[in-house]
């Protein structure tokens, strides 16, 4: 009601347009951060490269259409909620690996998850995407181990080990739902994966972090249903 001296609905003096706009912008910031359960806007230490992001989003979309075409293909956890329960917010989280080389033919990958999402959601599905640039023909034995901190000491314990036979270059996926689900209860939710390739293969990772074939994990989660008290 900028044209009249007062707000027709609430009967108080109308704000000046500038003050009203500032108030609305502040309300928009507050509302979005509250709905995302963020205390403040995040600062991005090192965003992934555009190439890696686009490749990962493309893989996610391809995976989703595969899942729709072959519903039995991905085996993990409760059935995905195609039609989310009324009002329950869903998340898809794309985490890129931070690498830590251990030997010439094995590497540790770390995937971190933010506490805001980890603390308030339940995992529906989590998939690890790995790209293999196989240097030589024939089946190459690859070992993928999921590790978690050993509560008794500084070492890591193996929670699961998978042996793959890579025939040619390309992407493979691995179901890491249970491992990520067990993480989401921890204070610092971090998934550690060890990749081990044959000696003559060299490093199991692309040469650079910004490579569009960098490993990533896609996690689908849903906000926990708030605790409701039913009065009978």
């Amino acid at each position: 009601a900028a044209k009249s001296a007062w707000c027709p609905a609430c009967g108080v003096a109308a704000l000046t347009p500038g003050t009203q706009r500032d108030a609305l912008l502040a309300l928009a910031k507050q509302s979005i951060l509250a709905k995302l359960r963020l205390p403040a806007r995040p600062n991005i230490p090192h965003p992934p490269s555009r190439g890696a992001l686009l490749t990962a989003l493309r893989r996610m979309r391809a995976q989703r259409s595969d899942a729709a075409a072959f519903p039995g293909m991905l085996r993990d956890g409760p059935a995905p909620a195609r039609s989310p329960a009324v009002g329950l917010q869903e998340y898809e989280i794309l985490s890129f690996a931070e690498s830590e080389s251990s030997t010439s033919h094995s590497v540790h990958l770390h995937f971190r998850f933010s506490q805001e999402v980890a603390g308030n959601t339940e995992i529906l599905r989590a998939t690890l995407y790995l790209f293999w640039a196989s240097p030589s023909p024939g089946a190459q034995p690859i070992t993928v181990r999921l590790l978690q901190p050993d509560p008794a000491g500084p070492n890591m314990t193996v929670t699961s080990e998978t042996r793959l036979e890579v025939q040619r270059s390309g992407w493979t996926t691995l179901d890491v739902g249970p491992a990520v689900r067990s993480l989401f209860g921890q204070e610092i939710p971090r998934l550690t994966v060890e990749l081990e390739v044959p000696e003559d293969w060299g490093s199991p990772l692309p040469s650079h972090h910004s490579d569009s074939h960098w490993p990533f994990v896609v996690t689908q989660a849903r906000a926990r249903t708030p605790h409701r008290v039913h009065r009978r």
């Binding site: 009601a1 044209k3 009249s4 707000c7 027709p8 609905a9 609305l24 912008l25 309300l27 928009a28 910031k29 509302s31 979005i32 709905k35 995302l36 963020l38 806007r41 995040p42 600062n43 991005i44 230490p45 090192h46 965003p47 992934p48 992001l53 990962a56 989003l57 009002g87 917010q89 869903e90 998340y91 898809e92 989280i93 794309l94 985490s95 890129f96 971190r112 998850f113 933010s114 805001e116 999402v117």
Partner: protein, 114 residues
């Protein structure tokens, strides 16, 4: 619903667009470029109660008679959203993960009187 635009003080939907670049959020929100934080404002006198919520029907006729008969004790109703839709966001969290989510009921598409 009615979009605000003319001089009428009646209940309508006021469009308001928040440009993420303007508030310095374009670095951590990848998509979309802004948020339509539309809101409802304006008068809902008694004869507008339930408009445009109720369809033209016998109930409307009876309701209008009751309202007309009780005009002396007129109480306004409220101008509220009648249709809303989610805000889809693709953003970086503080661990540089990319998160996609749909926040329900964040965009007001139309307003009406209770």
């Amino acid at each position: 619903g009615v979009d605000c635009g003319g001089d009428s003080p009646m209940c309508c939907r006021q469009e308001f667009f928040v440009d993420f670049k303007e508030i310095g959020w374009e670095d951590w929100i990848i998509q979309p470029e802004g948020y339509h934080m539309n809101y409802c404002s304006g008068l809902c006198p008694l004869h507008m109660a339930g408009i445009p919520g109720l369809a033209a029907s016998f109930h409307t006729a009876v309701l209008n008679r009751i309202k007309a008969a009780s005009a002396a004790a007129a109480v306004d109703s409220c101008c509220v959203p009648t249709q809303r839709r989610p805000l889809s966001l693709l953003y970086y969290d503080r661990d540089s993960n990319i998160v996609k989510t749909d926040i329900p009921d964040m965009i007001v598409d139309s307003c009406g009187c209770t």
